[in-house]
Subunit: 281 residues, 2 copies
Amino acid sequence: MNFIKQFAVKPDKKFNLDKVDPECAELKISKKEARDATAENIEVMRKLQFRMYAENKQSLLVIFQAMDAGGKDGVINSVLGPLNIQGCRVVSFKQPSTLELAHDFLWRAHLAVPRTGEVVVFNRSHYEDVLVTRVHGQVSAGECERRYEHINAFERLLSDRNTRVVKFMLHISKDEQLKRFADRLKEEDKHWKISESDYTEREHWKEYMKAFEDMLNNCSTECAPWFVIPANRKYIRDLAVSDILRRVLENMHTEFPEPTADMKKIKAMARAEAEKAGIKL
Amino acid sequence: MNFIKQFAVKPDKKFNLDKVDPECAELKISKKEARDATAENIEVMRKLQFRMYAENKQSLLVIFQAMDAGGKDGVINSVLGPLNIQGCRVVSFKQPSTLELAHDFLWRAHLAVPRTGEVVVFNRSHYEDVLVTRVHGQVSAGECERRYEHINAFERLLSDRNTRVVKFMLHISKDEQLKRFADRLKEEDKHWKISESDYTEREHWKEYMKAFEDMLNNCSTECAPWFVIPANRKYIRDLAVSDILRRVLENMHTEFPEPTADMKKIKAMARAEAEKAGIKL
C-alpha cells in the first residue's frame, strides 16, 4: 500500500475532513502485520538517514499537528525515536515566550529548522497560529488568510534550499480522545499533565475541525504536502507515517560523498604506522 | 561495581593519566554480563529521564571528549540513543563558524546548554579549546590557565541552576586507534570520513595526553567531575558510562509534580462527557 497516495491532501482539490474515517475501517491489516511492516520501514529510514547525514546537502522537516491526545508524542517516540539521535532533533512548540511574542509568528519556527543533513521534528508548529488562535478568536479570518500565504512562502523558501517538508495531521475521533483522557486518569504518574481545559476545549471540537480543514485546503502544496492520518488505531498511524517518511527519504536520492582523501595514500600511511607500532592490522 | 568511585578524577589529588590502562585488564567481566548490566542501566535511565522531564526543575549535561576514534559516537548511540528523543539532544561541536569565532570560546557552549528537564549531550565541547588549540600552539600556556578558570566558573554557574555536569574522557591506546582507523578503511561507506590528518595527528599523541592530563587536573571539580573511562573494550566503556549516568540521575532525587488540576473535578468532567457521548469508559 502506498500511503502517500492514499492520505495526501491534494493541492488542487477541495478537501473534506468529514470524509476521513479516523478508524480507517476499510484498511484490513492485523496488528502484527502492521507492526512488522513498520519495523521494516524504520530500518530503511535509519539507513537513509545516515546517508542523508553523510551527504550533507539536503534535510528533512517533519511536522505533527493533532488534537490533544492525538498521538503526536506516541508516533514521534515509536517512528522517529529509533533514528540516530546525532542527526535527529525534536522541537516542541509550547506557549510562546515573551521574546517569541515580540516577533512575527514564523520567527521561532525559522530558528528551529534543520541544517543540511539533519532531520528535525516539530511537535506542534507555526500551524498552531492558524488553529488554536483562530478557534479562540485571537486572529481574524482575514489575518488567517494572510498567515496561510506567509506559511506557504516560508515553506517554499525551505524547500528551495533542499529541505523536504512533510506535514502530518493525526486525526482521531472525539470519542477516541475521551477514551485516551480516561486512560491518563488511570496512570498516577501522568496526572501532572491533566488540566480542566482538556475537557473544556472539547466544546470547540467542530470549530477545530473547521480550522484544520481550512488549513489543509490552503497549505497543502506540492513542495510541502499535508497528510491526514487516521489515528484512532495506533498501529495504523505508525505504519502510515513510517511508510510515507520512508518513501520521502527514498525520493531524496541521497548519495554517500566521494572520499576527500587519496585512499591509496591513506592505506600506505596505515601500513607504515602499523609497522612502526609492530602490530598486525 | 561503583564506577563513579573507580573512574572519577578527584579534585584534590594529582591525577596521572599514564596509570590508567585503556584495556582495563583488571576488570574481569564477560561481554554478555557487561551488555546485560548496561541494558539494565539504560532501562533505569529511561525511567529517571522521564521523571526529570516531568519535574522540570533540574537538567543534565553530559560531555564527551576523546582522541579520534575514541568511541564518542559509539557510546552516544548505544547509551544515550535509547533515551526519549523528546527530552534529549546531542550537540556536536565542529570547527567553529565565523560567528562563533567572533565571540569568546564559551559562547557557543552556553547557547547549547540544557533547559530544565532536558538532557543535553556534548559531542566534543568547550574543552577542545584547551586541547587541540593547545597542542597546535594556538593558545599559550598562560591563556590555557585562564581558560581553565573560565571553564570552572561557567560550569559552576550551570551547577548553581540545577544542571548536573558530567564529563567523560574516553581513553583508548594509540594502537587501538590505529586498529579502528583500519576498520574504517574496510567500510567503503565510511571513506568520506577519513582524512590524512587522522594519521598526522598521531605524531602529537604525547602532547595530546599531556593536554588531557592538565585539563583533568585543573577542571575536575566537585560540581562538574571528570571521569576517565578505559575505552579499548567497547562493552566496558558502555557499562561504565551507563553505570555513572544512572547513579547521577538517581542522585538527583527528582519527583513527579503534584497534579495542578483537582482530580475529583476532572473525573466528574470525564464521566459527564462519557454520558453525553453515550460511551463507556
